[in-house]
């Protein structure tokens, strides 16, 4: 219960397109969750975020800066990013919002109104 964090990874296998799995953090905030995913080189237009059958899929296509010259040392990977999460039923999928700043994608996943703790006043 209460966890956004169950991952679905198997779907990656056997597909032609190859992705890299970027590091992510999940934080429980006041009325939902915050999901941060590192996607250096991804602009707003390169993002594809979808929810289907309680599964959140985030794809980040990289637009890497064109660098002239010969690579003499390389550690980066050219593949695009993909990460999938099974979202908790308490999350209101229609209210998920996203922003990307300096290659860090932040998703806010609010809980649906009916699952938020409610104060009941004694009359």
């Amino acid at each position: 219960m209460n966890s956004l964090t169950r991952e679905t990874r198997e779907a990656d296998r056997g597909q032609a397109e190859q992705f890299v799995m970027p590091p992510a953090s999940v934080t429980e905030i006041a009325d939902g969750y915050m999901l941060e995913i590192e996607m250096p080189g991804v602009k707003k237009d390169g993002l594809d975020i979808s929810v289907e059958n309680n599964e959140l899929t985030v794809i980040g296509r990289r637009s890497l800066p064109a660098v002239e010259g010969t690579p003499i040392h390389r550690e980066s990977r050219p593949e695009d990013f993909r990460r999938m999460f099974e979202i908790d039923p308490s999350i209101d999928a229609d209210k998920i919002s996203a922003k990307i700043d300096q290659g860090l994608l932040t998703l806010t996943l609010p809980k649906a109104e009916h699952v938020k703790p409610r104060k009941i006043a004694v009359s």
Binding site: S3, L4, T5, R9, D12, R13, Q18, F19, V20, M21, P23, A24, S25, V26, T27, E28, I29, A30, Y33, M34, E36, E38, M39, P40, G41, V42, K43, S63, L64, P65, V67, E68, G69, T70, P71, I72, H73, R74, E75, S76, R77, E79, D101, Q102, G103, L104
Partner: protein, 153 residues
């Protein structure tokens, strides 16, 4: 520094993190043994952040490209010393008021990467940009290191 980042070139991308998390777990359980207990910080050596760095060369300059997602420009330091370029900095933890981390793969803390440059560069003409979480440092070669065209007379 490459100790942390190295990935066998033929490994399938989707398995990369799996392999690393299991290696990290092994190292952690090793460090949890009584002998290491007095060296709590030793674990940092293995779990530190080592951002990917690429280096390109043209006839008259080098370009270093480093993946540093989610940094603030002010928190990145670039320095040149003895023919080596060093990029270091710190990613600060955001305020954590009443928040509970459920999964944290993102590294918070300091990092440092150094790379030896094959030829001398003109330290006064180095420039850098930071966009989409990618730092790009341009280092013009020193005059004496540039390729020379010799005219046959």
């Amino acid at each position: 520094m490459n100790l942390i980042r190295y990935q066998a070139p033929d490994s399938a991308p989707w398995s990369t993190l799996d392999r690393w998390s299991s290696l990290r777990d092994e190292l952690n359980s090793f460090l949890d043994m009584p002998f290491w207990s007095g060296f709590g910080r030793t674990g940092q050596l293995f779990t530190g952040w080592s951002p990917a760095l690429d280096l390109y060369e043209t006839g008259d300059h080098f370009v270093a490209v480093v993946e540093l997602p989610g940094m603030r420009k002010e928190d990145i330091d670039i320095s040149l010393h003895d023919g080596a370029l060093t990029i270091s900095g710190e990613r600060k933890r955001e305020s954590t008021n009443g928040e509970t981390a459920q999964r944290s793969e993102r590294y918070v803390g300091t990092f440092r990467r150094s790379i030896a440059l094959p030829t001398r560069v003109d330290a006064t003409k180095v420039s850098a940009t930071y966009q989409e979480g990618i730092l790009k440092v341009t280092l013009p070669k020193a005059e004496e290191a540039k390729p020379k065209q010799i005219q046959v007379s």
